[in-house]
Amino acid sequence: MPEQAPDVRNKNFEEVALGYTAEMAVEEANRCLGCKNMPCVSGCPVNVQIPQFIALVAEGKFEEGYQKIAETSTLPAICGRVCPQENQCEGKCIRSIKGESVAIGRLERFCADWHMEHSTEKPKKVPSNGHKVAVLGAGPASLTCASDLVQMGYDVTMLEAFHAAGGVLIYGIPEFRLPKAIVAKEVENLEAMGVNIQTNVVVGKSVSIEELKEEGYEAIFIGTGAGLPSFMGIEGENLNGVFSANEYLTRINLMKAYDGKHDTPIFHAKKVAVVGGGNVAMDAARCAKRMGADVSIVYRRGLEELPARKEEVHHAMEEGIDFKVLNNPVKILGNEEGWVTGMEVVKMELGEPDASGRRRPIPVEGSNYVLDVDCVIMALGTSPNPILKKSTNGLETNKKGCISADENGKTSLEGVYAGGDAVTGAATVILAMGAGKTAAKSIDEYIKSKN
């Protein structure tokens, strides 16, 4: 797939991957063997009918291909861009056994982009069945759940704490991986289908789950994600110039602090250390690079163990981001005015595998040295926000603060369902969407059984 050149794109926020042309899409679609047992479909949490849509693309029927995807997937333009396909559909592709799998994600993206560009058809409104459902949060899990429910005829109200819908799709994932106009378009579609989206509502503060039930919502879906950032608890973490990745990315992506036209300020660092090795760390590092800084990723395990997608690591390396693997922060150093002047790290080596099956990093004694940085971004993972739990009696959570829900999304409270990162802790967009879909089905069954 064509991409912006690394040395050009690391100075702008425009999309890196440019997408297939129609010819490329047809050519790639022809690589699909159309297997009868369709292992790819079993790898997709929302069960996109992959060989069927690809067959349509191969025939040049792009709009029909999109419609086939849309039968089961709500946000193909987004999934095609941000799903870790190598662990999902493409990981199961027969072609991947000998050589490269069919580029399912890229084809999905192509169909969705084609549809956005060429179709003038408005989404259809399904007549109301008179039953009200509230969906909390407006990230991928909630968007999917709301979309499925509204298509079944439910009156769906979505409540979002931020001033715009999209969740991590708008505050977390940067413009250069997922253009915000695409998210906005998907959200508009949802509204056109009849979902009532109310922004600036913090459930647990502005309104409680109990009050929502009193207002006549027969079922509630909690898709509030895992937005609470972790810090390391090391010395110097509150110095000026230390940020959580959530803060840094929210300023950049949601508040558009990068473009100079918006009011939200951003710290213009010269040398940045991003601590962590997941996709969020890659996003933060690549944003900081685009803001003009020299950027290092500091990760306590090795390159092989980086939890981020291979593609993201590859892109980050191409863009000139330095990887200091087997390095762990010990403390952050500051000057008298309280600004970051450096970060002391210790070198690590890998020991025996731990409970998670990954080799445990062990500090190498006496190997401490100081990295010359003026900014540190902590991308150590997130956990669910405690606001909802604190304000809702009887809502069970586990030790990590994740909402307890069964495989159908059912929580400890009658009529209350949950899915996505709020249940699993920080995971992926596509898993959240799958959970939203499952919960929509459960909610439908629940409401039907009552009436």
Partner: protein, 284 residues
């Protein structure tokens, strides 16, 4: 969009606005705050809820024009709209526990807009309230009648002596304590430096002191940690763990330092905004 039902200029640079926000008005309690965004390009800023009317669905905010965003907000007229307005956020202040107790509530400058509803709530809950209100100079004195109606005794102070007594709020508090007043608690709301020195003083007399912290915030719901501060050696997020904290445990020097994080950019934005307004006034 949230309609401005009423605006009133309390002093040359302090504005009061009644905003139509029924959902916030229905739930809010003293000590909580909202986050607003003036327009599409705007930043999110936190402001304390000064007053509310549940029946009318109105929330009152009081703000000082200190930078570009508050300057833009101050340009809005009655009948115009604020783009985003979310809340109530943060934990409400404890008021019930002061029933039958004697409390000194201290407001510094704009902090009086937040101290006043707290004084009122404690007074109504059956506490004895002495309020000390401090201003730099006479021109910026505000809310005197409201404060007087919400406490047992009000002491007005100005740094330069142009109104009320001359001196800082800490001078007054110390003389009251030295004069034999026995306070069960002190509540201080105002500039960080003022709160810090109130705490230094009350520590000496061992009087429990609550402060209302106002660090930099973005989301206000606990998802970024931009508002973090150290309390008793632990990192807390002011937006969800506060904004009220035990003043004797807050690391004020760190908070003061963190509040200056964007001072250069803020100054540039203020400058740019002022120039633009001047240009408009000159018909350019």
């Amino acid at each position: 969009m949230y309609k401005i039902l009423r605006r009133e200029d309390l002093s040359s640079n302090v504005v009061l606005m009644d905003v139509e926000a029924p959902m916030v008005a229905k739930k809010c309690l003293p000590g909580q705050f909202i986050i607003l965004r003036v327009n599409e390009e705007g930043e999110r800023i936190p402001l304390t809820i000064a007053h509310y009317d549940r029946e009318k669905g109105v929330v009152t905010i009081i703000f000082q024009t200190v930078g570009a965003t508050t300057m833009e907000l101050a340009e809005l007229k009655e009948g115009e709209y604020i783009h985003d307005f979310v809340g109530p956020l943060g934990n409400p202040s404890e008021t019930e526990e002061f029933k039958g107790k004697k409390v000194a509530v201290i407001g510094g400058g704009l902090g009086c807009a937040i101290a006043w509803p707290q004084a009122k709530a404690i007074h109504e809950a059956g506490g004895t309230v002495h309020m000390i209100a401090g201003f730099r100079t006479k021109e910026i004195v505000m809310l005197e009648n409201e404060m007087r109606a919400s406490c047992d005794e009000l002491f007005m102070m100005t740094d330069d002596g142009t109104y009320g007594e001359k001196g800082f709020v800490t001078n007054k508090l110390e003389s009251l304590i030295e004069g034999g007043e026995k306070y069960d608690a002190v509540i201080a709301i105002g500039p960080l430096v003022m709160m810090k020195f109130v705490c230094v003083l009350t520590k000496k007399y061992n009087i429990p002191t609550i402060v209302s912290m106002n660090p930099i915030m973005i989301d206000g719901t606990g998802m970024c940690g931009g508002c973090r501060l150290t309390v008793d050696g632990e990192t807390k997020f002011a937006c969800v763990d506060g904004p009220d904290f035990d003043g004797h445990k807050v690391d004020f020097d760190e908070t003061i330092r963190r509040s200056r994080m964007y001072s250069q950019q803020e100054a540039a934005a203020r400058e740019k905004h002022a120039c633009r307004m001047e240009g408009m006034n000159n018909g350019k």
